[in-house]
Amino acid sequence: MWNQNQLRQQTRRHFFGSAAASTGSLGLGSMALQSLMSQEAGAAAKSELDRNPLAPKPTHFAPKAKNVIFLFMAGGPSQLEMFEHKPKLTELNGKPIPDSFIEGKRFAFMDSSHRINLLGSRRTFKQYGESGAYVSDLLPWTSEIVDDISIVKTLQADLFNHAPAKLFMNTGSGQFGRPSIGSWVTYGIGSECEDLPGFVVLQSGPRGPRGGAVLWGNGMLPSTYQGVPLRNQGDPILNLSTPETVSADQQRRLVDVVNQLNQERLRQTGDGEIAARINAYEMAYRMQTSAPELMDISDEDQETLDLYGIKDPNESTYARNCLLSRRLIERGVRFVQLYDTNWDHHGGPTETLENHLPSKCRDIDQPSAALVKDLKRRGLLDDTIVIWGGEFGRTPMGEVRQNTGRNHHIDAFTMWLAGGGFKAGQVYGETDDFGFEPVENAVHVHDLHATLLHQLGLDHERLTVRFQGRDFRLTDVHGRVVTDLLA
């Protein structure tokens, strides 16, 4: 548990650490500044040691993975159209689900469109790879990588409305104002990147995900750990661009003079917080160059663009975001989250299983598979975890709006994981004949969180922050590491 004071020290050390690693970019006075910082850094580290000789190492134990890319299909992709092959469901299409399944359960839209009649999938399923995993005809590219991924069919969540469920998947709680997993991870192990934020969010689809910016919020952790959206239009990071009428030279001089004046004030006041601010200005200045470089993918070869299915390198798409996520990982960014929206196929006019779901699958199938392949061939997959999935899945029962669709389902849904020490070529967990509930190896969202943190070298029970008199953690009072999933 870290109290606020220790957090402050930690934050300062973090910045001092970055300062030590970034040499020479500061103009006048950089030598003096550096020597001051290294002294201060020594003092801060020492005072931290004095304060707490048992200060945790950067990780609680040796990590298997360093980075995470979370491909978030916002809205709840239908596992029954993609990974869950259920002949019995097709056979009993239109029949009511036995009462025993739904007794005492609560669903979204219970008072209106929710139904209890089973809905068989119209997709064709085949087995692929050595693992023999079932994948439907909607995901031809994914079917090629089944031996590189672990398909988990028995995910369980607690909340069945979009925003709370998305929060739950991201923060382990349906309450607004809790830290997201990306914040926890950067809080726990920091970032290796000197000139980009440690936790970056990319978005595709027609609008922002339900819940919005709180999904990558820092909650009660310092805002240093909040997710930073990299935008595809305008400045990639808010206020990244120098104002139009200001020249690059003026901007450099601004940073220099601000830092020199701050250094003078540091001399006058002796407040180490000013040294942290000087360093923040240096990093901000570096970000102004590095973020546009990151977003400019013109240095990628045609073969790579083709692999991801990127037709226009300037067009903002999920495919481009997948490629960007690889580039971010290459630059040492710790946690990258991609949101793709519009996966909510209830059967409304723009949300049918027949037309709109296949279209969404076409958007994400090739790029997601390409990301795994690309990371693998570059040797990045070993220490990068790739996760694919949404906030929940969809019901075996049909829902009737203008068309037949499926309602939200939290008792069993599918996600896949690749790299970062997860077993490759595994299908984990089994559900009943309808895909309603796990019959073995259920994996709760808390368990997923615990397992992800474990692979990053963090004990989910020890990664805590004290707030309003209580220790908070990502997994609340739950969670177990699912060792079956680990290589």
């Binding site: 000789p53 808010l238 206020n239 104002p243 003079v257």
Partner: protein
Amino acid sequence: MTKPLLPEITSSRENGRALHGLRLVQIMKTSLRVTIFLFVSVIFFSGSAHSQDSVDFSKEILPLLAENCFACHGFDAEAREADLRLDTVEGATGGKAGGGVIVAGDAEASALVERLRSDDPDLVMPPPETGKSLTADQKEKIIAWINSGASYDSHWAFVAPKRPELPSASQATNQENRHPIDQLVHRRLAEVKLSPAPLADPATLIRRVSLDLIGLPPTQVEVIEFEKAWAKDQEQAWGELVDRLLGSRHYGERWARWWLDQARYADSNGYSIDAPRSIWKYRDWVIDALNRDLSFDQFTIEQLAGDLLPNADTSQKVATGFHRNTQINQEGGIDKEQFRIDSIFDRVGTTGTVWLGLTVGCAQCHDHKFDPISQKEFYQFFAFFNNQDEPSIKVYPEGTDVDALESRRNQVQDQIKKLIDDSADPLKQWEESLSDENKKSISDGVKKVLGKPLNKRGLEEKFSLLIEMNRLAEKSVQSFEAMQEEFLELSRQLNDVPTTMVLSERKEPRKTTVYIKGDFTRPSEEVTPGTLSILHGFETSSDSVTRLDLAKWIVDSKNPMTARVIVNRVWQQYFGVGMVATENDFGLVGARPTHPDLLDWLAVEWVEGGWSLKKLHRLIVTSDTYRQTSKMLDSMEPALAIDADNRLLWRQNRIRLDAELVRDVALTASGLMSSKQGGPPVFPPIPDGVMGQGQVKRSWSVSSGEDRYRRGLYTFVYRGTPPPSLKVFDAPEGFSSCTRRTRSNTPLQSLTLMNDSSFFEFAQSLAKIVEDEGVETAFQRCTSRRPNQVELDLLSGLDSLTVARALLNLDETITRE
């Protein structure tokens, strides 16, 4: 797994423990860091008690037991291991019958001591896997306490504060210093052989106290005049300055934000839909209440139960907006009752945090782990808040006689109705007879009415037809038109008024039950409203107990918590951290006060002086402790070695300004600030694309005129997509009560100050000042002091815009020194 406390009761553990209990144990596991920290603070702050060779249970032992033992051997029966509790003397010693793990007066005979000392990982307490452990010193302390009789007394915060005796002036380090705060702070410093720092220079002081009391920097003239006055007579100059600032209407704006953080105020409904809401009248109520120095007890009563006061006026109803600052979920497919209950959980937790400094919310699912608050008590508290409707009310301008307006409107309306009824037939004939040619000369508004079916026409619309008919017939319509105008004006006065969200008590109370594990689908035992038994008694003469009784209980002078909690939270604004560092937890695992006597003295003084916040502010800022320099001087080396975090206040602290004030200072320095007060929230420019991040894209139509340059306090806050330049400086979004802001220091802040279009606009305005009045003036507008030669040299040779941008970016500009 956790281990049993005693070998002979191993079986009870093997009988099977509830999984839930195990998990609860897990969450309370803490790393060794906290133990060490606690250890340091116990030794450090135990001072005199230690030297007298006696052990103070509340100060030295209880925190150790709470942190290390109570999670499994405390108040919560569900989570209790081995049927052993150490939070009561009976539990620990077995009472008169004996047989407990502690034998009072005989540590060697106490099983507890044996287990503390054991080096067998299966026996030692606390168990290694909890991550907790006791140092040798801490164990010795517990042994000493047992040997001295193992007496249990109450946790300090649960005992009402008494006015402590002040040291005589001769004991204070400075003979002349008679300010009570300084006497107590200096006494504490003297105990560890430290001295207070010299006072800051007058320019720093006026900037400090201006930012602290009104949230705005002083003008150049104010600085110069104050420096002169200070040179003449420091105390008089200071007293006059403080009085002027406390009398400023900006005082309410500054301190409202302190309270609005705690009230989790924002301008939208939250959750995923996050629609805008109208509750700014509550924000203005807070500003106004602070400006007129409404006593804090009344301030409390009106916010918790203003609607229940006899003959409650509008202002008192508006005040109940405090507990309407909860989120409202408007997502499709939800269970409304679930979210109504969630908002009450929030109200209970927030009331506990804000006024009691207790984590009452922890008892929602189970008895509190550390503090003696049962789950049942949580729901008794809940019952106070389970009995209101949640409407919006119209807020008319002051002095509006709504009844008179309504009766006049009805009168006019009846006249109009009669005129129309009387002309029903002619009107019908006229309408039927209208030729296309006739229609050309008819106004568009009337044409539109004619296009509507008869039953869809409103009274006013019918009347416009009647007027038109008469006008075309060349009859005088003057009196009709006057009547129409009056009707419209009356309707506008009655309807076109802001609304605000309030609480309104229901006649028939709702039934309240305990919810098993906090799950609203699992009601159990029914409960009635009640307060916390660990605190002062709850008396009511009435059968029907309401929020008003709760509010009065909270501000009862016997309440040990509220005055201390609020005084501490005011104090923390001035020094960066409270005397109790855990400003939201005064319970058993909360931090102990660094200056218990001072905290109690201030609490008692405040309440006896009539709960006046202005008096409290004045008391604090007139102390030398407040007015010390915040600079690190060479002479402070010894202090740094003993107390690196400056908890004993051997100097002031530099504090980065709150998000809103970062804006306010830049606005003031650049000369753009609007002084307009109150009213609907405004929309200053924000970067493109920000509003698209939420589920529903909200419009952000940039305010024009002076509303573009209002104080940060007035910026519209969507909880889901808060304004980036506020969020980046740690402004809370209003999801839950915020009793202390974090102060981060990040590259995104640098990007904001350098490149954000608003700050660039401020810089352009300041650049003109650089050109017209020189660098020195611009420097002073940002920092309230004259630049030295090094600083002037650094700024020379730069273009005016770069100078202006640099000045607005200085650490000093956004810091209260």
